[in-house]
Chain length 357, copies 2
Amino acid sequence: MSLTFFTPGPAHLYPTFEQHLKTFVENQLGSISHRSQQYRDLHKFTVDQLRTLLNVPDTHAILFLGSASEAWERILFSTVELESFHLVNGSFSKKFYDYSNALNKYAHLFEKPMGEGFTADEIAVPEYAELIATTHNETSSGVQMPVAEIHKLKQKNPSKFIAVDMVSSAPYPALDYSIIDTAFFSVQKAFGLPAGLGVWIVNERALEKSKSIRNTYSIGAHNDLPTLWKNAQSNETPATPNVMGIYLLGKIAEDFNRIGVQNVRKETEHKAGLIYDFIEKTAGFSAFVKEKAFQSQTVIVADVEVPSADIIKNMKAKGIVIGSGYGAGKATQLRIANFPATSLQQTETMLHELGKL
Amino acid sequence: MSLTFFTPGPAHLYPTFEQHLKTFVENQLGSISHRSQQYRDLHKFTVDQLRTLLNVPDTHAILFLGSASEAWERILFSTVELESFHLVNGSFSKKFYDYSNALNKYAHLFEKPMGEGFTADEIAVPEYAELIATTHNETSSGVQMPVAEIHKLKQKNPSKFIAVDMVSSAPYPALDYSIIDTAFFSVQKAFGLPAGLGVWIVNERALEKSKSIRNTYSIGAHNDLPTLWKNAQSNETPATPNVMGIYLLGKIAEDFNRIGVQNVRKETEHKAGLIYDFIEKTAGFSAFVKEKAFQSQTVIVADVEVPSADIIKNMKAKGIVIGSGYGAGKATQLRIANFPATSLQQTETMLHELGKL
């Protein structure tokens, strides 16, 4: 039986994935040299499609890493000599904070319980913090930080770097890269691809900082920003890249561009609206994130009265896979991914079946 | 026209690759949770197949990274507080050395020109070096360091860690892991897979060292050894892994195990013998690596009298892709990969066509 995945990543693969994969194999792209013009054209195609999709200006490079987690490390190496500042309200924002400590930086913390969100006005950034680490979409708790609040936070602190974790929401958030220094995501979430590739969007200001601090502090050796940036200028990567992942990402981004990013975002909101509506109106379900402004549009977390494992099992019998809660919420919550790969009709079917349980 | 790739990576894909990829897609393995039993079984299958293939004892973990280059960094972070020592005779062994400097370690160097090799007897390891970095197969120059010399070097320096770069030779070198602390490779070489996955074999002694130094020196944040190791105990990874790459690697390793690693190695030697024989006997060709003991069995470098670009172009017209020389050797050398994905018959055809030019 073919399954439909509403899991928050790895997630349902985008409907065109198989066709793109077939083209990749037929054209023997898995064997091309990563120092050939053929590769550089492929690389440029993906970067160009992402640039269009996410409206990324030429002040920012679009770089490829092994995973989005690697971006946490590379951002800290590149922009922080001594101190970073982290908004933490779930497991993944906490890991960004942990990475800073592991790199022997001083990591400041403003922490809220799982399920709660942040507004710019309540945040006092420590004076010596060089980086503000925000999470647009906390995959563990289903909390989003509204893009307007992220922009406002940076505008209040223009001298600091601001990083946006949009691992499980891109291309949904319409970030303004004239304000945002760096952001990152991985491909196994809303892009509907197999895991194994992280995308790092980063500006010249971060590059300059990394160059200015590297004589005093290590900025890392593998995929350090100056080397990545230099290679990206000629559409290459320092090490052999995940050519298949980069190719597939470019083709999916092209598909999104054909639909239009505004339409992709509108459909995301429409489907999210249906899911939240169901959760609010159905006995035994309630939204874990109470404040509407903080409710994620891409990873929707529901408290459930019956054990979530039972619901997941019964839904799977119908060919629909729903995610469990994360960590402490594993037994009592559902996480329902709302990515472009699952259509409006599949979403309606999923909710219909959930309602019949 | 379908091409046969004799390039040193990305390389020709293994003949069974397409079938394994098809199975992966049909079973929707790109969407499974990396915290599920289904994933843990898949992960364990690949580790078990690699353990059998490479004869890796339980004292060593088999870990997955984004690329083999990442292994350079993680080995340095894990085993070196202050000083490392590098045998450098080409571009990739040089990069391992560069990584050590970039991490603010003191990197000692014993350097030889491209094309020359190392024996254990001529190597004096600096007293305070904690790690000896060796390269079994220098992809840039086609020089191998005989496995017996690597073992001897470690036996002469039992208190040091020894690392073996076998990026472009595994599973060819029969390393003795009762002696070797750590080794690594990537999948786009002799395993005949698309790039995007590195494999790191590392022992408990390195784990203990990383734990003992982490309070004084950063051992990195992303894929740090203690976290990777802990996750590997339950057949998981800290971040979302390249599930597709790990699955395909397990299936190719299984294919190799069916053939038998001794047979895979024998065929490698047989084909390498044919290629070196051709180079020695054909006017206009000569082996770049003069000493037989140092001639790589998997990446064979030939000096050519006509511009290598012309040979490469003419061969490509016949559907055969040969690699150019690396760096300074680009115009005057050919690099011919000799991996399991290209059969004896394909090798004979390639040499036949090369002889007709």
